[in-house]
């Protein structure tokens, strides 16, 4: 098989953006759930639940802006985004 050079889209896939919740801070305010309805649900007690079941859920590219918004809007600064090797 010929070796194909990496182009931009392939390169991007080597890194995934994830959302981290600091559970010691989160007080179940819920604005992140509204901003990221496809990524986060809400549990019996009003706290966010990653729908994927992942500890730090992957943020797909199309949701990155909403996620940035959620990080800025969390009243207790419990959220952060980070890039990790996928």
């Amino acid at each position: 098989m010929p070796v194909r050079p990496l182009h931009a889209s392939t390169e991007r896939r080597l890194v995934t953006t994830r959302l981290h919740i600091d559970w010691t801070r989160c007080d179940g305010h819920g604005s992140c759930v509204e901003l990221l309805p496809d990524q986060l649900g809400v549990d019996d007690f009003g706290f966010p639940v990653p729908r994927s079941g992942q500890r730090d859920p992957v943020v797909p590219r199309r949701a990155e802006d909403a996620a940035r918004h959620a990080v800025r809007n969390c009243p207790v600064m419990a959220l952060r985004m980070y890039d990790a090797a996928s």
Binding site: H20, I21, D22, W23, T24, R25, C26, D27, G28, D43, D44, F45, G46, F47, V49, G53, Q54, R55, R80
Partner: protein
């Protein structure tokens, strides 16, 4: 192939107490090793952490070795698990071996400080005497079930409340005094002291090729001789339990309150990752608690879950709310409330809290609940019909009659 491991081994427990000369006479002088040599020996030995997580010890050492700043090395002797006393026994009988592990690592890593942190369960005499002339700071901290979680220990050593913190920043990057911090269980340190002296090949002469060495186990519950033993890794559960003489065992809780049950019919299972996986159990901190055939397992499990809910550091919403919910549902099941949704509801809640806390407490508690429902399935069904098969159950029968 090594021969199949039998039960008893004598590497850690025949120490010389606080007497350093006797210790050196028994084990030989502690060699000074360069980091590369120590890392190679620990990696080749296959030693895994004996504090619960079971990760390769070498991986953790390597993580702090890469830091830009000189690290801090911490021996974790908090032992907050009520069913565990192996760290207390080790620090009582063989404190110098633990201190050797700290010292050999601290020297190889050019550590800024070496600290031995002990909880209230540790008898202070021998370890204090032993630490006096060694380059190690001995620090006594408050106990509690989650106080031994790595980040709680680091917070405690930094003079803050000994509660777990958000694990986003690993303690291997920033821990005690914001320095890269290596936290290892005291038994892991004692094992490193042996590997540093005798090498990886010697270490591997006990245990299995993919799970070598020995481990300490604390045996309690329905046994005539409770206590701490040392056994080869990969011993059969029945062989490890034999010296304690189990009495009418119905099941064994492997790994403590964050662990899982193995039914008495399966005591031929080896204490390895692979053979314990079907039960979602792991050796963990080496707790083996025997349940007898007369005690109602749901009664006992409900009491354990009560305890776990009370031990939540009450920082994280899912843990703070979900654990008491599981405790109360398990109690309802134990006393014979005939609500057929209870098992499903418990399973749902166990899945819901998993992975949603700053420390491993919700995950461990959920594992225990899920295991209780699975292993005592027949018992659960009987309770839902209003009866309890256990002779000594007071609750289900009185409610049902």
């Amino acid at each position: 192939m090594t021969t199949a491991p039998s039960a008893l081994a004598r590497r850690l427990l025949d120490g010389a107490g606080a007497d350093h000369e006797a210790h050196v006479a028994r084990y030989g002088a502690l060699p000074g090793l360069r980091l590369d040599d120590l890392l190679a020996a620990v990696a080749d030995s296959g030693l895994t952490g004996r504090g619960g997580g079971g990760f390769p010890a070498a991986t953790k050492v390597r993580a702090v070795a890469q830091g830009a700043r000189r690290p801090v090395v911490v021996g974790n002797g908090i032992e907050g698990e009520p069913l565990s006393s192996k760290d207390a026994v080790l620090l009582n009988r063989n404190p110098h071996l633990v201190l050797d592990g700290l010292e050999v690592l601290a020297r190889a890593l050019h550590a800024k400080r070496a600290i031995l942190a002990v909880g209230p369960e540790i008898e202070p005499g021998p370890v204090t005497d032993a630490a006096r002339r060694r380059p190690v700071h001995l620090v006594a901290l408050a106990g509690g079930f989650v106080a031994g979680q790595e980040t709680a220990l680091v917070n405690g050593l930094n003079g803050q409340a000994p509660l777990p913190r958000d694990p986003f920043t690993r303690v291997t990057e920033s821990g005690v005094d914001d320095r890269p911090t290596l936290v290892l269980n005291v038994e892991t340190l004692a094992q490193i002291a042996l590997v540093a002296r005798y090498g990886a090949t010697w270490f591997r002469s006990a245990g299995l090729p993919d799970d070598p060495g020995t481990s300490l186990f604390t045996i309690s519950g329905s046994v005539s001789r409770p206590g701490v033993i040392e056994a080869e890794r990969g011993a059969r559960l029945s062989d490890a339990l034999a010296p304690a003489r189990p009495v009418r065992p119905a099941a064994v809780l492997v790994g403590g309150y964050h662990g899982a049950w193995v039914p008495a019919s399966d005591l031929g299972a080896r204490l390895t990752r692979a053979e314990l996986a079907p039960y979602s159990a792991s050796v963990g901190t080496g707790i083996l608690h025997v349940l007898d055939t007369e005690t109602c397992p749901l009664d006992l499990s409900a009491d354990v879950m009560d305890y776990l809910a009370r031990q939540s550091a009450r920082q994280c919403g899912p843990c703070l709310n979900g654990l008491p919910r599981m405790a109360s549902d398990l109690h309802r099941l134990a006393v014979g409330v005939r609500d057929p949704d209870l098992p499903n509801e418990l399973e749902r809640m166990a899945a819901l809290v998993t992975g949603r806390g700053a420390c491993a407490h919700p995950d461990g508690s959920a594992r225990f609940v899920a295991s209780t429902l699975r292993v005592f399935r027949g018992h659960v069904a009987a309770h839902l019909e209003g009866r309890c098969p256990s002779a000594r159950s007071t609750r289900a029968r009185s409610v049902a009659s």
